[in-house]
């Protein structure tokens, strides 16, 4: 039993890394095709990471090194609580609440690390990142609360199982509004346009990444890949019914990712105060309305 759990943990971390890097490569290729370019090979992020590990890297002190490891570890730990198909190594130990707490570790780790670098662009990027996290946490909390109330459980595995019996969450009228709200905040969690204001290379020199070189940049790239995998998996598990096997699950997250990529390719960028205003208005209103509907119609399960 312990052996299977350990194997599952290793398997899911490797798989998430590979899928995340594949998504990064795919995003560059699809973006290029939308711009009418040929685009880099799909393995380009892997090539970049190999190169970055073979470069010298400048450190700016202990916290600088520690913060990156911290945020990467945060992302890895979240992975273990998310069901991937039927694989979920730590399904007994936690639920949505744990995921909610652990998802904040990644931005906090980057904030610690960037603060040590003492670059003004880094500080601006971090303040934007934390503000944006503050912005999407409110609708995200409301959405998760609605889902938990509707299914009367905090276990994400149980939510997926109930969706096998009763159809996707999107098919329930009471969860339609929270689902739409999640779609509206997902670009902010992914750091896609129109919420690309954290990195914003033309504006603040790639923000929190400004001081990273060599292996530090490689680790942040891997963390970004994990982050993409986590946020899309959470959405798929909660609203698109999860999946019975990993292959089907992969197809689902691929479809969601490509749709958000198209949005990423055509949108301009919000300013930070516009982003906060937007996040606290429409997604929050929708999620709140969904919560009230769920409370009125009563528990279905």
């Amino acid at each position: 039993m312990v052996m299977t759990t350990i194997l599952e943990i290793i398997f899911i971390i490797l798989l998430a890394g590979i899928i995340g890097l594949f998504f990064l490569g795919l995003s560059r290729k699809i973006m290029a095709r939308i711009h009418w370019r040929y685009g880099p090979p799909i393995t380009q992020p892997l090539i970049d990471i190999i190169k970055l590990f073979n470069q010298t890297s400048m450190s700016h002190g202990f916290l600088f090194n520690f913060g990156i490891i911290f945020s990467l570890a945060g992302s890895v730990v979240v992975l273990l609580f998310l069901p991937f198909g039927r694989i979920c190594p730590l399904s007994d130990s936690g639920g949505l609440l744990v995921i909610l707490y652990l998802m904040l570790i990644a931005p906090l780790g980057l904030a610690l690390s960037g603060g040590e670098a003492a670059n003004p662009y880094t500080s601006i990027g971090i303040s934007r990142k934390l503000l944006l996290a503050f912005g999407y946490e409110l609708p995200l909390l409301l959405i998760l609360l609605t889902v938990m109330t509707h299914y009367n459980t905090i276990s994400i595995v149980e939510i997926v199982n109930k969706q096998f019996q009763a159809g996707w969450s999107f098919q329930h009228l009471s969860l339609l509004l929270p689902g739409i709200a999640y779609i509206l905040i997902l670009p902010a969690i992914l750091g896609f346009r129109p919420f690309e204001l954290i990195q914003a290379p033309q504006e603040i020199s790639s923000g929190p990444m400004a001081e990273y070189s060599g292996k530090f940049l490689a680790l942040t790239t891997i963390q970004h890949a994990f982050n993409i995998f986590i946020s899309i998996s959470l959405f798929t598990n909660l609203f698109l019914g999860g999946a019975a096997n990993p292959g089907y699950f992969f197809l689902k997250i691929l479809a969601v990712f490509v749709i958000f990529l198209f949005a990423n390719a055509v949108f301009p960028r919000f300013r930070i105060e516009q982003a906060i205003k937007y996040l606290w208005r429409w997604p929050s209103i929708l999620a709140f309305a969904g919560l009230i509907i769920v409370l009125i119609t009563g528990k279905n399960f």
Partner: protein
């Protein structure tokens, strides 16, 4: 192009990575920068060679100096170059960094850039076409393959000479030496 040659990747991953992932820092001095937007966007698309622009010197390993270098600009070129992680490659774009170009008798323009920082390759012309950037990139690949693009090693080995030249033009430099002054020239060479 041997990007899909798995044997080479297993043999020397570092070298292959440097070849096919050139993160470029464009130092936009003068008119050369006008050739860069077409070369990285739809018409010529540098990204298919793995060349993408990055925002800061810390993330870059290809330094492209596009245009004339005035004395004031030289200070920031040197600072940016020293901030880049090794291995790093410099390419001078246009005739101005090569020998001054049309500013050959200007009172305020650097004539030979390679007196102050090492340069691995030149793109001659006034102006070079965007295709010339790709010729330079493919040429740089051959140089990296043969181990001849070693400007950063040269900088390490001859740092005191470079620093003397820089101080002759800019006066006393306000930043500390990149490599310690206590080491003699011979020892730099052994490090490199």
């Amino acid at each position: 192009m041997d990007r899909n040659n798995l044997g080479k990747w297993l043999k020397s991953p570092g070298k292959m990575g440097q070849k096919y992932s050139l993160h470029a820092l464009y130092f936009c001095t003068g008119c050369g920068i006008i050739e860069i937007p077409p070369s990285i966007t739809t018409r010529w698309d540098a990204e298919r060679f793995g060349v993408i622009p990055v925002a800061t010197p810390r993330q870059a390993n290809l330094f492209l100096i596009t245009g004339y270098v005035s004395v004031k600009t030289l200070r920031y070129i040197i600072r940016s170059y020293e901030q880049m992680p090794e291995p790093k490659f410099t390419v001078g774009f246009g005739s101005c960094p090569i020998n001054g170009g049309m500013y050959w008798d200007s009172y305020n323009t650097i004539k030979h850039l390679d007196k102050y920082i090492p340069v691995d390759g030149w793109i001659a012309g006034c102006m070079p076409r965007p295709e010339a950037v790709f010729v330079a990139v493919t040429h740089l690949w051959t140089l990296i393959d043969k181990g001849m693009a070693d400007g950063y090693n040269k900088y390490r080995a001859n740092y005191q000479y470079y620093r003397e030249n820089q101080e002759k033009i800019l006066g006393k430099l306000e930043w500390p030496p990149l490599f310690s002054k206590n080491i003699k020239h011979e020892e730099y060479r052994t490090i490199a």
